[in-house]
């Protein structure tokens, strides 16, 4: 074997890597292959749910283990006329609507929400991008609110509609009842021992501690109990799921 052929082989290997990768790109555009590629989400969710304790608590940390500064991401300020008016009134007129498949639809003021028993937890926030920050959150457990509204047996998902708009449509997210009923799933109005600020979702945001950051809806205005995600947005259960195909199950 001559050296030239060897060199050719090395060059060939590098070139074929590029060809293979663009081949993968083409595959990922094929409708049938996309179904296979996207089936990994259900497999990972199924494996995680089957192999682990569904009620397991996310790790909680000591105050000295918190991030010195907790960065913001996504919408830093909804900056709509409605929201700006609410912020100017220090969210005194904010209402959280609890609707859908519930026996008693609720309309809660921030004062109502602050009177509910609060859970405080120092947890790690993991962005889908890869960074993590540890912060302290406080607010009522979502299950307290759902119980007050009387969740129907037909409800399968809880949908959160937000005050921030993306291309004119409100940000939204959804979780199933395993996470909705989890003790660490709270509607946080406190962060790091202060009122939640605008950058982090004032006046109210979701914490769903066993999933990635984009699931933690900020500026929550409405909680809907639904039987199916079809017909909401484009039907994939969340803004990023609808627009760029992020996984609905973001436990990994």
């Amino acid at each position: 074997m001559t050296l030239i052929t060897r060199r050719g082989l090395i060059g060939g290997a590098a070139a074929s890597a590029g060809v293979l990768l663009s081949g993968c790109d083409k595959l990922a555009q094929n409708e049938e292959f996309r179904k296979i590629l996207f089936s990994g989400e259900k497999m990972n969710q199924g494996l995680q749910r089957a192999l682990t304790n569904r009620g397991a608590l996310a790790p909680e940390f000591r105050p000295d283990q918190m991030s010195p500064r907790f960065r913001t991401n996504g919408t830093r300020d909804p900056n709509t006329p409605d929201y700006n008016g609410q912020a100017a009134a220090r969210f005194a007129n904010w209402r959280l609507q609890v609707q859908g498949l519930v026996a008693r639809p609720l309309s809660l003021s921030m004062a109502d929400i602050r009177q509910l028993p609060a859970r405080t937890q120092i947890t790690r926030h993991d962005c889908v991008e890869g960074w993590s920050a540890i912060g302290k959150w406080g607010g009522p457990q979502l299950s307290t609110v759902l119980d007050a509204a009387g969740l129907s047996d037909r409800a399968r998902y809880i949908v959160f509609t937000c005050a921030d708009l993306y291309n004119g449509a409100p940000y939204y997210e959804s979780i199933d009842l395993v996470d909705a009923r989890h003790p660490q799933t709270i509607l946080a109005w406190m962060m790091n021992d202060a009122l939640l600020d605008i950058g982090h979702g004032a006046p109210l945001r979701l914490r769903v501690e066993r999933q990635l950051g984009y699931k933690h809806a900020k500026y929550v205005m409405r909680v809907d109990a639904v039987a199916s995600l079809a017909g909401i947005g484009r039907g994939k259960g969340g803004f990023w799921e609808d627009t760029v195909d992020y996984d609905w199950y973001a436990g990994i």
Binding site: M1, R6, L9, I10, A13, A17, G18, L20, L21, S22, C24, D25, A28, I36, L37, F38, S39, G40, E41, M43, N44, L47, Q48, L51, T52, N53, A56, L57, A58, P59, F61, Q65, S67, P68, R69, F70, R71, R124, D126, C127, V128, E129, G130, W131, S132, A133, I134, E209, R210, Q211, L212, W240, V244, D245, Y246, D247, G251, I252
Partner: protein, 248 residues
Amino acid sequence: MVEQSPPAAPGTMIHRHALATRLWHWVTAIAMFIMIGSGIGILKAHPHLYWGRYGANFDSPWLSLSWMPGWVSTGLNILTLPTNYNLALSRRWHLLFALVLAFALLAFMIVSLVNRHFQRQLRVRAGELAPRNVLHDLKEHLAFRFHDPADPSAYNIFQKLSYVGVIFVLIPLLILTGLTMSPALNAAWPWLLDLFGGRQSARSIHFIAAFGITLFIVVHLVLVILAGPINELRSMITGRWRVPGDDS
């Protein structure tokens, strides 16, 4: 089998790789290629690495892609899957093929214990790690003589150490640090976080192990080419390997 019978004569064809080994090799080769490409895509979303439990823009990374010379990012761009930045699709590729990689390794480990591939071909014997033997194998390597004339089909100490390192250290480390980045698994198996010293440490170790695998692949490919690519490739496809003679 091979090691009990006298070494085959140069030029004869022997059955070198079991079907399970060949299947695992190619499944892992494809999966690893996709994992590296999509992994680079995911890294690009936040190209900074930290030690500890947390790490974000206001914290101090130990490594940042922005410190790298331009040719590094050009090289990474060539290998990225998908070729245009798309975090969602990179994650879809990565998290599906992670399952392929992990379960293929699990199956290969079970089969290779049962068919005694690990015990027969990969077990490092005490004398092999003696400095004299290591030095001898190193000299032979540098002279491009990769096979022991007395037993050409046996792996030398560098092969054994690198294969054992990949099968029992690097890939398991990639799988475990990958699992440690899952917030749901952090709740279920918090010992993973203790093992690696926090999620951002696990992310850094994941990257270092992936870099190690990439180095292995480069050296592996170069040595396959130097050792005779047609014979080596054939042995990993059909299992049949021609025993190299003095002239090869």
